[in-house]
Amino acid sequence: MTDYLLIQALNGLVIGVIYAVIAAGLTVIFSILKIVNFAHGEVYMMGGYFAYFAISLVGIPPLPAVLVAMMLSFAMSVLIERTLLTPLYSPTTERKGDYGILITFGISIFLRALALIIYGPYPLRPPSFWPGVLVVGGLIMTWDRVFAGGAGVAMLIALVLFMNHTPWGEALNAVSQSRESAAIVGINDQRFYMLAFGLGGALAGGAGALVGPIYSLSPSMGLLPDTQAFAIVILGGMGSVAGSIIAGLMIGVSESMFVALFPDPSRSLTYAQAFSLLILMLVLLIRPTGLFGRAHVAMD
């Protein structure tokens, strides 16, 4: 039983890392564009399929395919941002918040419908990154999970380094604090909206590519991770990248513990899906600024 719980905890940790990657992308978008991106889960889904087709059609090996998926997700996100999100920055747009909600919800519907056409309703499973299992003592874990966790951590470290130690990252941070002040010191804010939305999309797409061999790919796969990511982003404090990483791990582990300890096994899987939703609702009710919220990115 303790071995089982430990394996569950480790699995939860891996999934938590993936959640954290998705949530970090959502956070980057939120803190710069000031919108909650309801289409984030669909970019995650598209990333999974990008990797699948890079492997099966083009013949790229599984590991570089993750990078290809990230680049394609970046390009797709930039395209979406340039064509559909520019009214968010225009002073003539009324009620920008409502526009952001509606347009990203619309994008999520569109992408899901498109995926259903292109990829079909049946689940697809990309090949393993690394077949086989890792056995340490009584603990068993597939190499895919180990790899996904490791790659996810690498993405998060790269993101934190990028945000804190490069001029572009600092510029992003400046725009997140004040659009006007950033413009005054010579930062072209349009370029950084583009970068932020693309970066967020690349993280979501990368997460989708990593998850592919563990679960399968399906057009509706983005729905749940999306709400989980929202729960994480809000729990971690809107706009705090470090907060979302910690919250992502917390939710991943507690969710798999919930599955392991739920008294009625026949229902544990369906109710596990409700678990993060309930956390999301509770956080919104009790502490909408989250655990690590930064005041200046709070949304009104």
């Binding site: 409502d98 619309g106 519907i109 929202f230 369906t270 309930l278």
Partner: protein, 318 residues
Amino acid sequence: MRTLAFGALVVFGAFALAFPFLVNGYWLSVGVLAMFYAIVAASWALLAGYAGQFSFGHMAFVSLGAYTSGLLVKWLDIPIPLGMLAGVLMCGIVGSGIGFVCLRMRGPYLALFTVAFSEVLRIVIVSENEVTGGSGGLEVTPLFHARTDTPYYYLGLALLLGSLAIMQFLVTSRWGLFFRSIRENEDAAAASGVKVVRFRILAFAITSSFAGLAGGFYGHYIGILTPDIGSVDQMGLVVAMAVIGGTESIVAAMIGALGLEFLIEALRSYGQWRLVLFGALLLLTIRFARNGLLALAWQQVMRLGSRRRMRSIGQEAG
């Protein structure tokens, strides 16, 4: 212009009344479903467009109303209209509850909370399959024992017109102004003496009740309820209907729903491509015509009319 609008209304009214005798059974059932979607889309437009509360949990209330009525009729054997009334009341109560707990939330937070609520409800219905029938569906007693859908059609039409009359009365009354003032600026509305708390809760309670009414009707018409009715995809369809028609007007949202439902069935041979098409249409509408395509079309008609009038005035002068 006024006589033209009146004439159009008479023609549409006559067409709506004669509809069951003009079409076959298939299109009649499409007509019944169109009535259902029209009530849902119109009430969502009241909540989102007028009151500015972007709830993505509206289909959850449809589902709540439908399951409440379906289960009560099945287990307690009460008359169906009483069951539907119970569904409406249930949605009104839960809706005010959601409205109450969402008071502190604005914009995207509210949207997130309602999405989460809607998914939790769907998951509970799927999981508690001993009571609700789960994904396999719940058999619901049909409202009429007729061989055609004609009685359903007229009932749907009556419910739609009744709901529309009430909602239209609401939005043209002082309450409509209160709703819109809260949408534009909550603090300014409160400062002007609008009871923001009361009207935000009221907006939720009223629109959720309409959703519950539509849900009860849908359940007792369709005969078998599945949790999918409360899914995010169904919500997306209703949002598309209301937005393409226009969320700033109850009637426009209703027409959007009727039009889209018929279009979906008319384009059935295109299969899944329809959904992509409607998704694209939705995005274009939000991006370029935020008040909906009907408002856009109406503006064009008005502009054409005024241009013609200008020309005739010019000719008279010349």
